[in-house]
């Protein structure tokens, strides 16, 4: 099963990368973009034996830093 983990910065955590991307978008001459936040997506291919709880553990202990980031797990149909 494919699993996608989306990691994003918590609200209130400054995202200078997102700000730089925002600036670059404006440089393209496209207006109307109000805010940009950059995160990361991690794709895992896991056996059916991997439990939801194990996925949560991976996210909390490694894939996301809970001091600054949130995560969301998305399971993709095989």
């Amino acid at each position: 099963m494919k699993v996608r983990v989306f990691v994003s910065l918590k609200n209130g955590v400054l995202d200078p990368q997102g700000r730089a991307i925002h600036h670059a978008i404006e440089g393209l001459g496209i207006h109307g973009v109000n805010d940009v936040r950059a995160g990361k997506m991690i794709e895992l291919d896991v056996d059916d034996t991997v439990t939801d709880e194990q996925l949560e553990t991976m996210c909390r202990q490694l894939l996301a830093n809970m001091v600054i980031e949130n995560y969301r797990i998305e399971r993709l149909a095989a």
Binding site: V13, L14, P16, Q17, R19, N65, V67
Partner: protein, 225 residues
């Protein structure tokens, strides 16, 4: 008494030699060099240093992979037993990622890598690491980092300040760090993480000696303990 220290080298560490050199020059005894894959630390260490660099290529987050390496489990256990641990730059990032210190180090607010000498204000003079300085003293120590923007929630920051755990503060704006924090201590005072590099200010040839007192005081305090 022989001073028994260790410098941990991760793949991508690049300040481990500077750290080892500083420890040897100040204490008179070279540190054990420990590789990240080693399961165990040498016995009866007086001092552990986590050096600067880009461990594991900063993959995932700075310090994230190193914090979960085999040797760090031994470092965490040693720190919890009270062994002094100094983490500089990437070493600071490893300490926050491993949970030995609160907060996190984000990308510099200005997006740029910052590499220059910066003035620091010594905030805490009660710890093993900072007892050789005067309260409010300004010292000049170089920084060289991309992810040095210290972040913690307001409650944590208030607690750190209230407990005197802010060791050093930038005397000028450097990287966007919350309350200009440059270095923090753990609750017991035996773990210090800081972005600036005291090991690069040991001898006059390096442009200054303001980092020397940190090592001298720790070594002196441990020798008399």
């Amino acid at each position: 008494m022989t001073f028994r220290s260790a410098v941990i080298t991760f793949p991508g560490s690049n300040c481990d030699r500077d750290m080892a050199d500083a420890l040897e020059k100040v204490s008179g005894t070279g540190p054990h060099r420990v590789w990240h894959g080693d399961a165990d630390l040498p016995q009866n260490l007086d001092f552990i240093a986590l050096p600067g660099g880009f461990s594991y290529g900063d993959y995932l987050r700075s310090g994230a992979m190193a914090a979960r390496s085999p040797i760090m489990q031994s470092v965490i256990a040693a720190a919890n037993r009270g062994v002094p641990v100094l983490g500089v730059c990437n070493g600071f990032q490893v300490l926050t990622e491993s949970g030995l210190l609160p907060g996190a180090l984000l990308r510099n607010a200005g997006m740029n890598f910052v590499c220059r000498d910066v003035a620091l204000t010594v905030e805490n003079t009660q710890s093993l690491f900072t007892g050789g300085y005067d309260a409010g003293q300004t010292i000049l120590i170089p920084v060289a980092h991309h992810d040095g923007n210290y972040f913690a929630d307001a409650e944590t920051l208030d607690r750190l300040e209230g407990e005197g755990r802010v060791a050093f503060r930038y005397a000028e704006e450097v990287n966007g760090s919350a309350r200009q924090i440059a270095g923090v201590l753990n609750a017991a005072g035996n773990v210090l993480g800081m972005m600036p590099h005291p090991e690069r200010m040991i001898e006059a040839e390096q442009g200054g000696t303001d980092g020397r007192a940190l090592f001298e005081n720790a070594i002196k305090a441990l020798a008399s303990a």
